[in-house]
């Protein structure tokens, strides 16, 4: 039996809280600039004092743009087997000031509409090369 227990696509990028899934990043307490992934220092040239603290982002956003990946990219990309095209979006998160990238969790990738509301979910991307199911943050159209 191969061990196919789920693993996270990367460490410290997302978390399941009692309020639902959130992205893990940071925010500069001086200028309020948000960072995902977390940053060690504030990159805002107009900020005179970097004060980075951990922050959660999401779950609500609006889809800024979308593409459907029509052919299977090579590893480290994880996708379903057999391959079926998936959608990737750029999402403007409500109230956070962040635009983030994420795969879209949706049956029919062609049905996704730019400008529509989306919500953060944690869901499998597919099976990694080592046989483990790989979980990542995704956005589900609402």
């Amino acid at each position: 039996m191969t061990d196919s227990s789920p693993v996270h696509a990367a460490k410290d990028l997302f978390v399941e809280t009692s309020d639902g899934p959130r992205l893990l990043g940071s925010r500069c307490e001086t200028c309020r600039a948000p960072y995902f992934p977390s940053s060690e220092a504030c990159h805002n040239p107009d900020c005179d004092h970097s004060d980075i603290q951990p922050a959660h982002f999401g779950p609500h956003g609006t889809l800024w743009s979308v593409t459907v990946q029509n052919y299977p990219p090579p590893p480290p990309v994880v996708a379903s087997d057999p391959y079926s095209p998936y959608a990737v979006g750029l999402v403007d998160l409500e109230t956070d000031g962040l635009r983030v990238i994420g795969r879209l969790h949706v049956e029919d990738p062609a049905s996704v509409k730019v400008g529509g509301p989306v919500e953060l979910v944690l869901a499998p991307l597919g099976q990694g090369q080592d046989g483990h199911e790989v979980i990542s943050w995704q956005f589900e159209p609402r």
Binding site: L13, S65, V66, T67, V77, P85, R103, S136
Partner: protein
């Protein structure tokens, strides 16, 4: 600052050359540029070279050192510049500064590349501090997908159609067919492009550029030196480099903090504005431009973002033929990346060669009539942007 002349240009054709090594490809371009300039290798005071992560350079991006060893180790200084796909143009900028400052009379700028197969992927390292790795591992968005996101957003905002996108590729090949250095010289119909495979929706195979091998070289010199060698040389009126702003709307990793409005590719907008200002011209004064068309999207978006035309106007200019060499706003008379493919670090110098050929009136069937002033523009990984204005 002194004036800088583009005294010599040379290119190895773009293509796939599995039997040639990188040095021999670069050598063709360098020999051609030196011969074109009428300059002996021993007169070259310094070399500015594009660093490659894909080929040559002793695995350290020391591509300039390889070229110097090949040409003859005279002890001259070498600068190896890394700026992703903008490396060649970045090297041009450093060469320009070395001549303009008076540090050197004659500088050779060179970029050459042998690319691995397929679309450009990540660094190959499983490094969770590398945003490019994280983007592939956690989301899965290769380069064409990145361009597709920009393209889809434009379609939503301006109503750009699939036919508009395909028409850019048709136009590129219509001019590129006349360029003996281009790799893809066949003509395409609108149907050919629309029937090519969908890669990253909405972009099709013929609407994005693949990778190529190629090399280009440029000899820059001072005004005093130029007068000894040429009666009417091409001048580098300006050369500018910029990086993306903090509030850029295009995430280069996983996220960004956009300001309102069209803020993406600020590195391109800033470098172009700086180059135009230093050349003391406005965007509408350009007779033509060679811009980085990794995909058809850029040929529509960039001229608008730089003020060459109004937002949302590019499609109608395209359909009226105004972006052809004999139009009112010629874009990429070389055929651009779509006809050449991308030999990443050589691209910025292939553009300089084309702009110089155009200004000399030596571009044959793809000549922009009466071209007096042109611009070359490139962008690269890391938010690097460059622009240079050449005139005659």
């Amino acid at each position: 600052m002194g004036e800088v002349a583009v005294l010599g240009i040379g290119m190895h054709p773009w293509g796939k050359f599995p039997k040639k090594n990188l040095n021999s490809i670069c050598r063709v371009a360098v020999d051609a540029a030196l011969a074109d300039a009428g300059v002996n290798w021993k007169e070259v005071g310094a070399v500015a070279a594009a660093s490659s992560r894909f080929s040559g350079g002793k695995g350290w991006g020391l591509n300039g050192n390889d070229i110097v060893e090949d040409m003859g180790s005279t002890g001259l200084p070498v600068y190896n510049l890394s700026a992703g796909c903008a490396a060649g143009a970045n090297a041009f900028n450093v060469g320009h500064m070395m001549v303009a400052s008076g540090a050197h009379d004659v500088v050779l700028v060179v970029g050459g590349e042998k690319m691995p197969k397929g679309f450009i992927q990540t660094s190959g390292l499983e490094d969770e501090t590398d945003p490019e790795y994280l983007r592939q591992r956690c989301v899965g968005l290769p380069g064409p997908g990145f361009w597709a996101l920009l393209t889809r957003q434009r379609m939503e905002e301006y109503g750009t159609s699939h036919e508009d996108l395909a028409a850019v590729a048709v136009k590129a090949h219509k001019v590129g067919t006349h360029n003996e250095n281009a790799r893809f010289r066949q003509l395409f119909s609108l149907e050919d492009v629309l029937n090519s495979n969908m890669v990253s929706d909405p972009l099709r195979l013929y609407e994005i550029c693949p990778v190529s091998d190629g090399a280009a070289a440029v000899v820059l010199c001072s005004a005093e030196y130029a007068r000894k060698k040429a009666s009417n040389p091409v001048w580098a009126a300006s050369s500018a480099v910029a990086t993306a702003r903090f509030d850029d709307g295009l995430p280069r990793g996983l996220g960004c903090v956009p300001s309102p409005g069209r803020t993406h590719h600020s590195e391109a907008r800033i470098s172009v504005a700086k180059a135009l200002e230093a050349a003391e011209i406005g965007p509408k004064d350009l007779d033509f431009v060679e811009l980085q068309d990794n995909t058809v999207y850029y040929e529509l978006a960039f001229p608008e973002e730089w003020g060459m035309c109004e937002p949302g106007q590019s499609e109608s200019l395209l359909h009226k033929g105004e972006t052809l060499p004999n139009g009112s706003m010629p874009i990429n008379p070389s055929g651009g990346f779509l006809c050449f493919g991308e030999a990443t670090t050589a691209q910025g110098l292939f553009q300089i060669c084309e702009v110089a050929w155009q200004l000399r009136g030596e571009a044959g069937e793809r000549q922009v009539p009466g071209a007096k002033i042109g611009m070359a523009q490139s962008i690269g990984l890391g938010g690097n942007g460059t622009a240079a204005v050449l005139k005659r």
